[in-house]
Structure formats: C-alpha cells, structure tokens
C-alpha cells in the first residue's frame, strides 16, 4: 500500500520523500518556536507580576483546586502517550492501531477541555473570580489576587484554545486515516500534529505548577 502511494505522497516541489519529511518536521518545529514566544509574552508578564505581588499570587493560587489540576495533567500525559503510539502506528502503516490511538487521544483531549470547562472555569466564575466580569474578593491583596486570576484565565484560556485547535486537527486526521490516507511513506501530517499535541502538553506541564502549586500548599 505504501509504495503505491509514494508518487501521490510527494509534492511537486520536493525531490524525494526524505526531503519532504524533513521539511515538514522542520516547519512544525519552527512553528512551535513561534508558539514558545507566543506563550512567552504571557510567561514574562506572569514572572514579573508574581515577583512584584508575591502574597497576592500565592493567595490566588490557593483558591484553585489542585486535585483537578493534577488529574488534568495526568489526562494530558495519557493523551501524549496515545498520540506518540499513534504516530508509531502510522510509521508502521498499521491503520487500525492508528485509528484506535487517534480516537483515544481525541477523547482524552476532549476530557481535558470538559474538565477544565465544567469543573474549573464554571466553578471559578460562580465563585466570582472572573476579572472584568464579576471579580469579588474580600481578603487582603485583592488587587493582586485579581491580577493572578487575569493570568490564570489568560494562560489556561490560550492553552485551551490550542487544545481546541488540536482536537480539530485530530478530527481531520481521523477522517483521513479512516480513508487509509496514511502509510509508512506518508505520515507527515500525523507526525507534525503529534509534535503540536506534545507541545501543548508541555505548556500545561509548566502551567500546572506555575498556577496551582507554586504558592505552596502547606
């Protein structure tokens, strides 16, 4: 199946599949570099304000639910594993395995978004922690706590947006995989989507301690 696809798999501007494969990976890595800088603006702002308003940021952090955060971290790590296994299946040309893992990844991604939306954001909003909408906080450092929640919603929001995009990409891959579009010579799309998915996972790996843990829970 793979070899019959080789001709169709090679775009006209490339000399061979190796070149095409490397170009695709390099392109995605460069895109991820831009993503690092995109999140970087937020991380820079977070670093500065956290150091300026340490007590408020700690107080804000204590209002978040660590258990849910940790569960969500685990969910994302699982989805990374299934994604990595999916890429492996595509590399080996195993269509059914690929489909299974793509569905797993998709489900885990949706689970993450769902948990975030219903158990966290909704809860935070009802508690009155949404800056600009209904923020109310009675304790000391109210101003810095509000700033913390600005960053909380911004960072998790931008991250969730990336998750939504990732889920969209996975759905497309799923449809293509269903049609048997991929093979050992033609799995660049799966691999680059995998890179993106893992990157979004990494962002969360940093967001989890920065938002939930860094104030200390003792």
């Amino acid at each position: 199946m793979a070899d019959s696809h080789a001709g169709a798999a090679l775009a006209h501007q490339f000399e061979d599949l190796e070149q095409q494969h490397e170009a695709a990976s390099l392109g995605m890595w460069i895109f991820l570099a831009t993503e690092v800088m995109f999140f970087g603006g937020l991380f820079a702002g977070y670093t500065i304000y956290r150091n300026l308003y340490m007590p408020g940021f700690d107080a804000g952090s204590h209002l978040l639910n660590v258990t849910i955060g940790a569960i969500n971290t685990a969910v994302l790590i699982c989805s990374s594993l299934t994604m990595a296994l999916g890429v492996r299946a595509a590399q080996l040309g195993k269509r059914k395995t690929l489909l299974t893992f793509l569905i797993c990844t998709l489900a885990l991604g949706l689970a993450f978004i769902l948990i975030k939306l219903t158990l966290e954001w909704r809860h935070d909003y009802l508690e009155g922690f949404a800056p600009g909408l209904n923020f109310t906080f009675a304790g000391p450092h109210a101003k810095s706590v509000e700033l913390f929640f600005c960053f909380y919603f911004l960072m998790t929001g931008v991250h969730a947006l990336h998750m939504v995009v990732g889920v969209g990409v996975l759905s497309v891959l799923l449809a293509l995989a269903w049609k048997g579009h991929f093979g050992p010579q033609r799995y660049n799309a799966v691999e680059t989507a995998g890179l993106y998915w893992h990157f979004v996972d990494i962002v969360w790996i940093f967001l989890f301690p920065l938002l939930y843990l860094i104030g200390g829970r003792y």
Partner: protein, 313 residues
C-alpha cells in the same frame, strides 16, 4: 548670522551645555563618516565607471586586516560615545540633595504644578534661577511626558507611579514645556511655559500668588478629614512621625524604605505591604483622594520627619 536659523535650543540649564557638547561630538563623527563614504563612492563611481561592455574587472575576495580595521574603528568610537553618554546621563539623573521639590500632575490635556509653599499653577511653572529643582511627577490618566528642550530634560509622566526629573535653570526667561508622549486628541495642545525668574522676583511671585496653605498644611487638613489619626495616632496603626526616608520592616519579613511611592501605594492599596506587627485593618482610599491630594498627604507625612513638622505636632 544664525539668529533666524538656530541649530539648537537655548542653553538654559546646567545640563544643557554638556548634552550639546556630546551632540556636537556625535555630529562631527556623523559628518566625518558620511563625508568619507560619499566621497569614496563618488571617486570610485567616476574612476571605475564602465568604459566598455567587454571589460573584465579584477576580482577581489576581500581583505581580512581591512575588515578588522573597519570593525575596530567603529567599535572604539561607540565605546567612547557610550561611556561619555552614560556618565553624563548618570550625572543628569541624580538630583542634588538640596533641590527644592515641585510636584507635577499631568492629565489630558494640561499640566498641574504645585509648589510646596502651596501655590498651584496650570501649564506654567515659575522657578528661581540657579537653584536646583526636583520634580516629582505622576499622571491622572494616560502616559504624558514632561519635556523642556531648553533644559535638555525629559521624562515620561506615568499613571500609577512617581517619576522624577531635576534641573537647575541658568537663564531667566520663558521656555517651552511640551508633552512629548502622545496622549490623545489634544496632545499637541498640552503645552506650557517654564518661567525662570531671579530669586527675589520669584519670592515676590510666590507671595503674590493665591496664598493658600502650604502643601503640608493642606495635607494635614486632609489627614484630619480622612480621620487617619484614629489609627495612626493611637497605636492601632504604625505611627507616621519620623518614618519618611527610613526603612521599615514588613509583615512578610522584608524591609522597604518609606518613600513617595510606598506611601502612595499604602494609601491606595493598604494591604499590599503591611508594616510588621500591625493587623491589616486599613481601608483603601482609592477613589477618595485625587493624585493632587495624595501628593499633599505625602508632603505632610514628609514634614512629620522634619523639625517643623514635629513642632507642629
């Protein structure tokens, strides 16, 4: 002959001359290199113009010593300029201890200036000649910029923080005051004059002004009105007498020097930095005091650290 066509503004402060020298030095570098490049290009352009389509010029790959030379020369020059400019800047950034303080509040689109003696002005700043003046500035709305070209001084006036600037006028007369940071519709109308006077005239002007109370007195009145005394005089809150300029220990173990910025923060956002040993009782006064009144309160607390203030108490 340059009367009608000046190339620099008046040199009306102690800072101006030094800046101008550096500017001339830079201009000289500029002119020299521009001339070298232009003349060389013109010479080559004429000398080596194409005389026939067939000619084959000799090919030169490059020349390492030459490359190093024209790396080293600019490098040396910029190091000199950097050191010169930076040392001058440091000098110009440090207000003399004896400087008289004037307070500036910028708002769309006017300048409000307050003398410690209590005289307030709008878009005009009267100062005595040959006396260092330090401006403490803030903004009520957007970022403005206090710029007096004749003094070669400029500093952004930023909401939410105090910036400072100092100068010592050396010439009497009237000089432009511009807002240099774009601040909305009437940015170009946010202008004023700095009027430099001989000290006796200045004293006369001060006393002739609408003689209200001094800033510290106004602050004291406000202090009573806002009932600060109910805590800060009874031991419920820290005493404010003699604290200005001194370090104070905070509840989280760190120390902070009591300065304008700290006092401002403590009035507006009392819970941000709490003095060790006191409960966080103080309510915020945000929205109750204007930037002008804040400056008055600060002037009052400052006066509590000087002899005069103590006597009054």
């Amino acid at each position: 002959m340059w009367q009608g066509f000046p190339i620099r503004p008046d040199q009306a402060s102690t800072i101006a001359r030094g800046v101008d020298y550096l500017y001339y030095f830079l201009t000289a570098i500029d002119l020299f290199f521009t001339a070298v490049i232009f003349l060389t290009i013109f010479y080559f352009a004429l000398r080596y113009r194409r005389r026939s389509e067939k000619e084959q010029p000799p090919q030169i790959e490059g020349n390492i010593p030459l490359e190093l030379l024209w790396t080293a020369i600019p490098l040396g020059l910029v190091v000199i300029v950097f050191l010169w400019g930076t040392s001058l800047f440091i000098q110009n950034s440090r207000p003399p201890a004896a400087a008289a303080e004037i307070f500036v509040v910028g708002k769309q689109w006017m300048w409000k200036l307050q003398h410690p003696e209590g005289v307030a002005e709008i878009n005009e700043l009267h100062v005595p000649v040959n006396r260092p003046i330090k401006l403490t500035m803030t903004s009520e709305d957007v970022i403005h910029d206090f710029s007096v070209p004749a003094f070669r001084v400029k500093k952004d006036v930023v909401p939410g923080m105090y910036t400072t600037l100092w100068f010592e006028a050396t010439k009497t007369g009237s000089f432009h005051l511009f807002c240099d940071q774009y601040c909305g519709t009437n940015h170009s109308l946010m202008r004023g004059e700095v009027i430099v006077m001989e000290p006796p005239e200045y004293e006369q002007w001060l006393s002739g002004g609408i003689r209200g109370e001094s800033m510290a007195q106004a602050g004291a009145k406000l202090y009573d009105q806002l009932a600060c005394i109910t805590c800060h005089g009874t031991g419920k809150g820290p005493s404010l007498s003699g604290v200005y300029g001194k370090p104070v220990k905070l509840s989280d173990g760190s120390t902070v020097v009591v300065d304008d910025a700290y006092l401002r923060e403590s009035v507006l956002y009392p819970s941000a930095k709490i003095v060790a040993g006191y409960p966080p009782l103080m309510p915020t006064f945000k929205g109750q005091v204007t930037e002008d009144q804040l400056l008055q309160l600060i002037a009052y607390i400052k006066s509590l650290s000087s002899e005069e203030g103590k006597a009054r108490k």
